[in-house]
Amino acid sequence: MDRVLRLLPRGRALVTAVPYVWLLLFFLIPFAIVLKISFSSTLIAMPPYEPLLHWTAEKVVQIKLNFGNYAFLVEDNLYWMAYLNSIKVAAISTLLCLLIGYPIAYSIARSNPSTRNILMLLIVLPFWTSFLLRVYAWIGILKNNGLLNNFLMWIGVIDQPIQMLQTDFAVYVGIVYSYLPFMILPLYANLEKMDLTLLEAAADLGCRPWQAFYKVTLPLSVPGIIAGCLLVFIPAVGEFVIPSLLGDPGMLMIGKVLWTEFFNNRDWPVASAVAIALLLFLVIPIMYYQRAQDAEAGGGVHR
C-alpha cells in the first residue's frame, strides 16, 4: 500500500496533475472521440452510430473508416454555403464591433481616471445579465410592431413597418450587441496603458491630433485590436442562439446546421464531421489567440 501511495504524484506534481487530467479528459479527449465518430456510419440505435472497431471471428480487429460523411460535406452545397455564410457574418460582425467598440474604448481610456472604472463597470455589467435574455430583448425591439418600427413611424421616417426581425440585419445587430464588451475590454486595456507623452512628442513635432492618432495611437493599439477581433470572430462563426432567434429560419449558419443534424436529423456522424471541419478552420485563429493571451497574461515563465 505504501508503495502505491509513493507512486502517486505529490506537491507540485499533484497540483499540476489535477487540472491537467481534468482538461485532458473533458476537453481534449472529446475531440478525439468526435474525430472517431465522424468516420463512422449512422445507425438507427442508441447511440446512433456504428462502432469503428469490429472483432471478427478470427480475433482480428477490423477497422472500418467511413469517409462518406466528409464526402457528403464536400458534395452538398448546403454545407459550403453554411460555412461561407458563417464566415461572412462573423467577419462583418467583427468589423462592426471594431468600428463601434474602438471609439467607445478610446473615449473611456481618455476620460478622467476616476470615471474610467465606473464606465468600464457599465460596459461589463450587461454581460452579467443573461445573454439569452439580452438577445430576446431585440425580438421586442425589431419585430414589425416593435419599438424601433413604432419609433421610426412616429418620427415619420417610414409610413409602414419594415421587416427587420428574421433578416441578416437582425443577426448583425444581435452579434454586435452581444459581443461588443469582448471587443471593448482588450482595446481599453491596451489604450489605457498607452504612454501619452508619445502624443505630446508627436504634437511637438508638428502632428495634428488626427495625424497623431493615425500614426501613433492606432499602430500601438494593434495588439488590442487583434485580441478583440479574435475574441469576437471565433465564437461568432459557430454562433447558434442569435441566428436562430433573430435570423431568417432559412439562414444558413454552420452552428445551426450542426444543431439540426444532431437534434433534428439525429445524424451524429455528420454532425461530428461538421464540427471537425469547423474546428480545422478555427484552429489557426484559436492558436494565435492563445499565444497572444499567454503573452498578455505575463506568461509567468520569467521565474
Binding site: 476537453f27 439569452l132 471565433i234 459557430g238 521565474r303
Partner: protein, 289 residues
C-alpha cells in the same frame, strides 16, 4: 480644441451606452405591461410576475440551474485556481504550452463544438465503464466546470502575475512549506480574484444554453433551455418579468461590490496615510534626539 474633443467623447459614450442599455430597459418596462402583446402598452400591471411565480416548469428549471451553477462554480474555482497557480508560478515545464492552450481554448471555442464533443465523451464513457449513467445533472455539472474553469484560470493567472511574489519568497525564507505559503499568504491576497472568478463562473453556468442542451438528458431542463423553447415561439411577457428580476439582482450585486471596493480602497488609503504619518513622526523624533 479640447472642448470639441470632450463633446465628441460625450456623444460617443452616450450613444454607446444607449445601445447597450436600451434593450435591457425595454425588457424591464414591458414586464409591467398589462397587454400580452409585449410592445403595445396596455397599462401598468404586475400580473406577469404572479404568472411567473406560478409557472412550475420555470421554477423547477430555475432551481436546477441554481444548484448546477453553485456546484459547478465552486469546483471550477478550485480547478481554475490550481491551473492558474501552475501557469503563473511553476515556471516552464514539459507540457506547459499544452496546459495553457487547454485553458484558453474553451474561452473562444464555439459552444456547439464543445457541447457535441462532451456529449460524445459521455456516451463513450458510459459504454466503456458504465459511468455516467444516462445524462442529467452530473453531466451538466461536469460540462459547466470544464468551460467555466477557463475563465477562473485567466483571472487567477493574471492576478498572480500582477502580485508581488516577494511576500511568498519571504515566507519561504522563514521556513514555511509551500502549501502553508499558499494557504497563509497567496490565497488571502488573491481571494477577491477568486470571488470574482466564482461569480463569473456562476453567471456563465446559469446562462448556458448550447452546451447544456447537448449534455442534458430528458427531464433535466435548465432555465435557459425552458426560456429558449418559450421565446422561440415569440415574445412572452413572463420572460420579461424573469429578466427584470435577474437585472435587479445583478444591479444590486454590482452596487454592493462597488461600495465594498470603494470602502476597501478608503481603508487602504487611510492605512497608508497613517503609516506615512508615523514614519514622519519617527524621523522627526530621531532628528531631535
Amino acid at each position: 480644441m479640447n472642448q470639441g474633443r470632450n463633446v465628441l467623447r460625450a456623444i460617443v459614450l452616450t450613444l454607446g451606452f444607449a445601445f447597450l442599455y436600451i434593450p435591457i430597459v425595454s425588457l424591464i418596462v414591458y414586464s409591467f405591461n398589462k397587454s400580452r402583446l409585449v410592445t403595445v402598452w396596455g397599462g401598468f400591471s404586475t400580473k406577469w410576475y404572479g404568472e411567473l411565480l406560478r409557472n412550475e416548469q420555470i421554477l423547477n428549471a430555475a432551481w436546477l440551474s441554481l444548484k448546477v451553477a453553485a456546484i459547478a462554480a465552486t469546483l471550477a474555482v478550485v480547478l481554475g485556481t490550481l491551473a492558474g497557480l501552475v501557469l503563473a508560478r511553476f515556471g516552464p515545464f514539459k507540457g506547459r504550452t499544452l496546459l495553457s492552450g487547454l485553458t484558453t481554448a474553451p474561452l473562444v471555442m464555439p459552444e456547439v463544438i464543445t457541447g457535441l464533443s462532451l456529449l460524445l465523451l459521455f456516451v463513450t464513457m458510459e459504454q466503456l465503464i458504465g459511468w455516467p449513467q444516462g445524462r442529467g445533472m452530473t453531466t451538466i455539472i461536469i460540462s459547466h466546470i470544464t468551460f467555466t474553469m477557463a475563465f477562473v484560470t485567466i483571472i487567477v493567472q493574471s492576478r498572480l502575475a500582477q502580485m508581488d511574489d516577494s511576500l511568498e519568497e519571504a515566507a519561504m525564507d522563514l521556513g514555511a512549506r509551500p502549501h502553508k505559503v499558499f494557504f497563509l499568504i497567496t490565497l488571502p491576497i488573491i481571494a477577491p480574484a477568486l470571488m470574482s472568478g466564482w461569480l463569473l463562473a456562476f453567471t456563465l453556468s446559469l446562462d448556458d444554453l448550447v452546451i447544456t442542451s447537448f449534455v442534458a438528458g430528458p427531464g433535466s431542463s435548465t432555465l435557459p433551455m425552458v426560456i429558449f423553447s418559450k421565446v422561440r415561439l415569440g415574445v412572452s411577457p413572463d420572460i420579461n418579468a424573469l429578466a427584470t428580476i435577474l437585472v435587479l439582482i445583478v444591479a444590486v450585486g454590482a452596487l454592493i461590490a462597488g461600495v465594498f471596493t470603494a470602502r476597501q480602497q478608503k481603508i487602504r488609503d487611510r492605512d497608508a496615510q497613517m503609516a506615512l504619518a508615523a514614519n514622519q513622526q519617527m524621523i522627526e523624533s530621531l532628528k531631535k534626539g
